[in-house]
């Protein structure tokens, strides 16, 4: 069992309160996933031409010298780097070349890139949703999209890097409730085309697969159609991709999903109780996407 949550602000007025609305949604699903949690928060604050890198320390509880890492990226690239240090997590925003940033981070050691892009800020950690949201001050976050996950691990280890969302491509973030039975096969096929997953988590394979399809020119709808064709197993997926948000369920609709739609927002969650506190929920159109139905929504850039 896991919990998934998505909140897309359709009106700009809602964006400053994204974190405030999202945190209760995520914590409402603690019982579905008490061992780890994570979320991708999308906003419009990254300067054009720059990317924001979401980094986290690999060893639990060990301090990372983010200042030293920031200096090293600046020195090697000659670009300015602005750092947002949240302790175990740090965001670096820079127009330095992506390969160079990755190279410096890899050489620095003990740090993983968990997400990057022009919009996304990705945090994941071990613990309850309330602990993690509190640790990183998520309630005050602003933005247009939040995609979150509460994890009850069933097939791979409980670590930060095994937690969701998985974000292998720019501004892509995937959360998954369920399990894939043919992920090893698809993992090998992705390896054949040069895409390697970082963990042995089954959900990461779907994220890498979607990232690969998007890179090949698919839109999100088409990429998810291929997921339905290629992936065997139980799944409800929620995916953020740039300005787009999508949900899809497997052919048996084995894993739950509820969507609430108003003029102000699209809110999705594994269980209705995560939506119950949202403003205007009593007048929202509340529905369950059917099996193999792909729903996508887009906000303006």
């Amino acid at each position: 069992m896991c919990g998934i949550v998505g909140l897309l602000a359709r009106s700009r007025e809602l964006e400053p309160t994204l974190g405030q609305l999202f945190v209760p949604m995520l914590t409402a699903l603690t019982s579905r996933g008490p061992d780890s949690a994570g979320f991708a928060l999308y906003d419009r604050t990254v300067p054009t031409g720059s990317l924001r890198w979401s980094l986290c320390g690999e060893a639990a509880g060990s301090a990372v010298d983010w200042r030293a890492l920031t200096d090293r990226v600046e020195t090697e690239s000659g670009s300015r780097v602005s750092a947002e240090d949240l302790g175990a997590v740090c965001f670096l925003t820079t127009d330095a070349a992506p390969e160079l940033v990755r190279g410096v981070v890899a050489a620095f050691g003990g740090v993983s890139v968990v997400g990057f892009g022009a919009h996304v800020r990705l945090i994941k950690d071990v613990g309850t949703p309330a602990e993690i949201c509190g640790r990183y001050g998520i309630t005050s976050s602003a933005g247009y999209l939040a995609v979150g996950h509460t994890r009850m691990a069933t097939e791979s280890a409980v670590t930060t890097l095994h937690s969701h969302p998985f974000s292998p491509a720019p501004d892509v973030a995937l959360v998954h409730n369920g399990s894939f039975s043919n992920h090893a096969t698809i993992r090998r096929r992705l390896a054949d085309v040069g895409i390697t997953c970082e963990t042995d988590n089954d959900s990461e394979v779907a994220a890498c697969y979607i990232g690969w399809r998007l890179q090949r020119g698919d839109d999100l709808q088409e990429a998810l159609r291929h997921v339905l064709k290629e992936f065997d197993g139980f799944f409800t997926l929620a995916v953020g991709a740039g300005l787009e948000f999508a949900v899809v369920r497997d052919a048996f609709a084995c894993k739950p999903l509820v969507v609430a739609e108003t003029a102000e927002y699209i809110a999705t969650a594994s269980e209705y109780q995560a939506l119950a506190e949202l403003p205007g929920i009593e007048n929202a159109r509340v529905f369950e996407p059917g099996p193999e139905e792909i729903s996508t929504w887009t906000v303006d850039g």
Partner: protein
């Protein structure tokens, strides 16, 4: 007001204030014939589960999974929608849902009457064991899956694979059937069927269903004993 017209006290239980465990404990303490009003359910699971005496329980708002499950006696009215497995394993009594029901409504119900005034999602009436399910609107895919005994009446349309692997439960559909599941077949309505549907409509308060224009679905009884050597398909 005379003594005979005084309504029995209705106990109000606030889920947000008390939590589900305490709400259910207080319901269990009620004597037969008592009434209770559950407020602020906000999608909470397991409300009213396991009550074994006749009670009149009203739920004001949307509730979560297994509403009224494992009950033997009470009558529920939910002024809202419900999550997965509403009235699961119901033994007797009624569960009336004024909104929609999520997946597996009335799953494994042995007895009693479950009424959904809106739509029911996938697997409505799955593994039904003798209970009765009436849905005013549509039901989702794989409804009546492996249903063993009992009756399902659908006022709207049925989704894909209706009645897959049916045993002896019977499904009546007033609208369209998108597709039948394995071993389900359409059978002719007879006079008994019409009176069963009329009776169900009367008991559940359905006025939009024309008992003379119903699709009846029952088991083809070809998968009761699966025989691989006969190259049976499933």
């Amino acid at each position: 007001m005379t003594a005979s017209t005084i309504q029995p006290n209705v106990m109000t239980l606030d889920v947000r204030e008390l939590g589900v465990t305490e709400v259910n404990r207080r319901l269990r303490d009620l004597p037969a014939g008592a009434s209770a009003l559950i407020v602020e359910p906000r999608g909470a699971h397991n409300l009213g589960v396991g009550m074994t005496v006749p009670l009149a329980i009203t739920v004001e708002g949307n509730s979560g999974y297994y509403l009224g499950g494992l009950c033997d006696g009470p009558d529920f009215t939910v002024r809202g929608s419900v999550g997965w497995g509403a009235a699961e394993n119901l033994m007797s009594g009624t569960v009336r849902i004024l909104g929609n029901a999520s997946e597996s409504a009335a799953a494994s119900a042995h007895g009693g009457l479950v009424i959904v005034e809106g739509d029911a999602s996938s697997r409505a009436g799955i593994s039904l064991k003798g209970g009765t399910l009436v849905v005013a609107g549509d039901v989702g895919h794989m409804s009546a899956f492996m249903a063993q005994a009992g009756t399902i009446l659908v006022g709207g349309d049925a989704g894909d694979s209706l009645g897959d692997s049916l045993y002896e439960a019977v499904v009546y559909v007033a609208g369209k059937v998108k597709s039948l599941g394995s071993d389900a077949r359409q059978v002719a309505m007879d006079a008994d069927d019409i009176s069963i549907v009329q009776d169900l409509c009367a008991r559940s308060g359905m006025t939009h269903i024309d008992a003379g224009n119903i699709t009846k679905v029952a088991s083809a009884r070809e998968l009761y004993t699966f025989d691989a050597l006969k190259n049976q398909r499933y």
